[in-house]
């Protein structure tokens, strides 16, 4: 956990006071809605279909139990008793009143949580691997660097009015759980031949209406230079990114239009002239930030405790354990994913009561720490294996032990037309229907890893382009229709999915997905071949045939 010091706390309190003043000026009419819009967006406040929506940052996906309880409190007190975890380590409240927002922010600031820059054309919440610090084989804890970047990007005097939003993600593992290749800047922590820590820097990834996989711009930037290098990229973007057309304003378009070579030369030229720009991180500064992350005092525990051996006799426990429990870097411990994808439920929602209960379980079994991943699930990062059976029982009672992590019903979906003013089509009901179709856990297990992503409009908040199966809702002649892509992925082998054919109506989406899955089961060359690998091997054609033969 990162502990805020007095300075961090002062800044977020100052931010709350500023926003309180801005809301007051808006309510008195001193600020026009146009002027206020930018200010509220910089504090995570959107105007949605029914009410204001409030997006709160969970930097690099780490929460303490105290912080999670406070999120529950906000859900209960200012909203309708729940919150929605998003694909970028944020939580959203959908029913909040403008006049309550300053108080909600103040309540959050008490526990070191803020909503700064969770929307607007600025540098957004810096995201990272939800298993950071506990994943086996990690280069080092990427949250140290995420926190350095979080501070640097907060209220940046030069880059708070960019052409468009700007997202940075960091991973330190070989397997990328942070989807860095679909970010404006993706950073992969690794060591050079001299054993020094640095980053491979990727730039220009993003989804939305023009999806791009990020391109490598520098194979190795030393850790001490990462702020100045990022600043150089931002400066080039701030000056040359397009501002004439909102749909062409992301850095991915600039990189695409200039070409990565020219863009890279521009950045290098700027970086050279900056000559550090006062941003070089000396060792002691990095260590200072590192020292404010605390790590649990792990016990020396056996790899296979008796409790686990005994519980193995229960097939339901075993099914959950095999699905939701991952290896930890410390022997005797596990990382446990809590599925927020119950059958028939909206993906990523948690009730205030569930949040409180998870906070209690984190205190009991996970050193008071909780993680939030971009797949819209939670995780307890430090669970002793001997506690797994007890934890499972507790999670099961809470409805948080659905054994579907990474399976076909672990669906990523945006809020869609049920909440969002941008959406053209519903997302959540499609997800709910699919979880019912594939409710049989045995079938889902047999299908294996399969990510379905659903977006209710071309802005792609549900990351449909990088779903193994992507579903994009669009409006055609007043009807909701859905385009289906297959073969996308968001990991280290990131890829944009390919369209299988004409869009299908709302009522047929679940049937089409079932057809695609059945085709896969018939086509895979062995049970271990994942859906996405079968698509890679065979292409779109056999799936297309199956889907459209009878339609």
């Amino acid at each position: 956990m990162y502990a805020y010091d007095e300075l961090d706390r002062t800044l977020i309190n100052e931010r709350v006071s500023e926003f309180r003043d801005q809301v007051k000026r808006r309510l008195s009419g001193e600020l026009t809605e146009d002027e206020f819009k930018m200010l509220r967006l910089q504090n995570g406040v959107y105007l949605q279909l029914h009410a204001y929506m409030f997006r709160v940052a969970i930097p690099y996906g780490t929460l303490s139990s105290k912080q999670l309880r406070r999120l529950a409190h906000v859900g209960r007190r200012y909203d309708r008793g729940y919150g929605h975890f998003t694909t970028r380590q944020n939580i959203q409240f959908n029913w909040i009143k403008l006049s309550d927002l300053p108080d909600a922010l103040a309540d959050l600031a008490d526990v070191g949580i803020h909503a700064m820059q969770t929307s607007g054309n600025n540098m957004r919440n810096v995201t990272s691997d939800q298993w950071a610090g506990v994943a086996p084989g990690e280069v080092e804890d990427p949250r140290i660097w995420s926190e350095i970047l979080r501070q640097h990007t907060t209220l940046h005097p030069e880059f708070s009015f960019l052409p468009r939003k700007f997202k940075i993600a960091i991973t330190a593992s070989e397997h990328d759980r942070a989807a860095i290749k679909v970010h404006d800047i993706g950073l992969r922590l690794h060591k050079n031949a001299d054993g020094e820590t640095g980053f491979e820097v990727l730039v220009g990834g993003g989804l939305g209406r023009t999806p791009f996989i990020a391109k490598a711009i520098k194979p190795f930037v030393h850790g001490r230079d990462i702020l100045s290098y990022v600043e150089a990229i931002l400066r080039v973007y701030n000056q040359y990114g397009r501002r004439d057309n909102i749909y062409k304003a992301r850095i991915k378009i600039l990189v695409h239009e200039l070409g990565i070579e020219k863009f890279s030369r521009e950045v290098d030229e700027e970086w050279k002239q900056m000559d550090g720009g006062g941003l070089t991180l000396d060792h002691s500064v990095v260590e200072e930030v590192r020292s404010r992350f605390s790590y649990p005092a792990y016990e020396k525990l056996p790899h296979m405790p008796d409790e686990l051996k005994q519980a193995a006799a229960d097939p339901q426990f075993e099914r959950w354990r095999k699905n939701s429990v991952a290896p930890h870097k410390v022997q005797g411990y596990s990382i446990v994913t809590l599925s927020l994808k119950p059958v028939g439920g909206p993906p990523g929602d948690a009730t205030a009561d569930q949040m409180d209960a998870v906070a209690d379980l984190a205190d009991k079994y996970s050193f008071g720490e909780i993680r939030v991943g971009h797949e819209q699930n939670l995780a307890l990062p430090h669970v002793a294996k001997r506690d797994l059976p007890k934890l499972w029982k507790a999670l099961d009672r809470l409805g948080l032990a659905t054994p579907n992590v990474n399976l076909v019903t672990d669906i990523i979906a945006c809020p869609g037309l049920d909440y969002c003013s941008l959406a053209n089509a519903r997302s959540i009901p499609i997800a709910q229907e699919l979880t019912r179709r594939f409710a049989n856990h045995g079938t889902a297990e047999m299908i294996g890893r399969l990510h379905i992503n659903i977006s209710g409009c071309i802005n792609a908040c549900g990351h449909h382009h990088v779903g193994h199966i992507g579903i994009l809702g669009v409006e055609k002649n007043g009807e909701e229709v859905y385009q289906i892509t297959i073969g996308g992925r968001a990991d280290e082998n990131a890829q944009i999915g390919a369209l299988i054919g004409p869009a299908v109506p709302y009522a047929e989406v679940a049937d089409v997905i079932e057809d695609i899955v059945e085709a896969y089961l018939a086509l895979r060359d062995r049970p271990e071949e994942l859906f996405v690998d079968t698509v890679k091997r065979l292409g779109v054609e056999p799936f297309k045939e199956r889907v459209y033969a009878t339609r």
Binding site: L7, E18, L39, H152, E158, G277
Partner: protein, 171 residues
């Protein structure tokens, strides 16, 4: 439109002279970049100070050779959403060592004052009277700053380092 300079509302001594408009015989003038670059010498030898209004879509490189002879540089925010002039301001101050008046023009509103000041602006053509009146108060909103810029404010990192040194000295 009120002018705030060095944190106080003050009378603007500069006259904005548009492209093609007649030059006043003497007195301080702010002229568009194009006009200035057309014949800098003619403008500089008249009586009165000269400032240049530099557009936000042109690199400041062409302005740099003239900086030492200019009394003011005015950068433009066509909309408060358009943040290009923040980069230009920092480049002028921090890279090119410009020490004269750096003026924010266009849609200059209260909630941008802190950002602008941190980027190096010291003079503001403020859109609304109420915002100009609130200038001093607004500048006190923040006491903690994460990024080093040329404005001289001490960053959080620096304060932490100092704190650590004073703690270890006390041991």
């Amino acid at each position: 439109m009120p002018l705030v300079k060095n944190a106080k509302i003050t009378t603007d001594l500069f006259v904005h002279v548009a492209d093609g408009a007649e030059l006043p015989g003497d007195g301080d003038i702010l002229v568009p970049a194009q006009r200035f670059l057309g014949d800098p010498e003619a403008l500089l030898k008249r009586t009165g100070k000269v400032g240049v209004i530099w557009p936000n879509n042109r690199a400041v490189d062409d302005l740099v050779p003239h900086l030492t002879r200019l009394a003011a540089v005015a950068l433009v925010f066509p909309s408060f959403r358009d943040g290009r002039a923040y980069s230009q301001a920092r480049l002028l101050r921090e890279r090119h060592g410009y020490g004269g008046e750096l003026r924010a023009t266009g849609q200059v509103l209260r909630d941008q004052f802190v950002f602008m000041s941190r980027a190096g602006f010291d003079t503001f053509e403020v859109k609304k009277d109420a915002d100009a009146d609130a200038f001093a108060e607004t500048m006190k909103r923040y006491s903690v700053f994460y990024q080093p810029t040329g404005d001289g404010r001490v960053t959080a990192l620096h304060r932490r380092t100092q704190l650590r040194h004073s703690e270890s000295a006390g041991q």
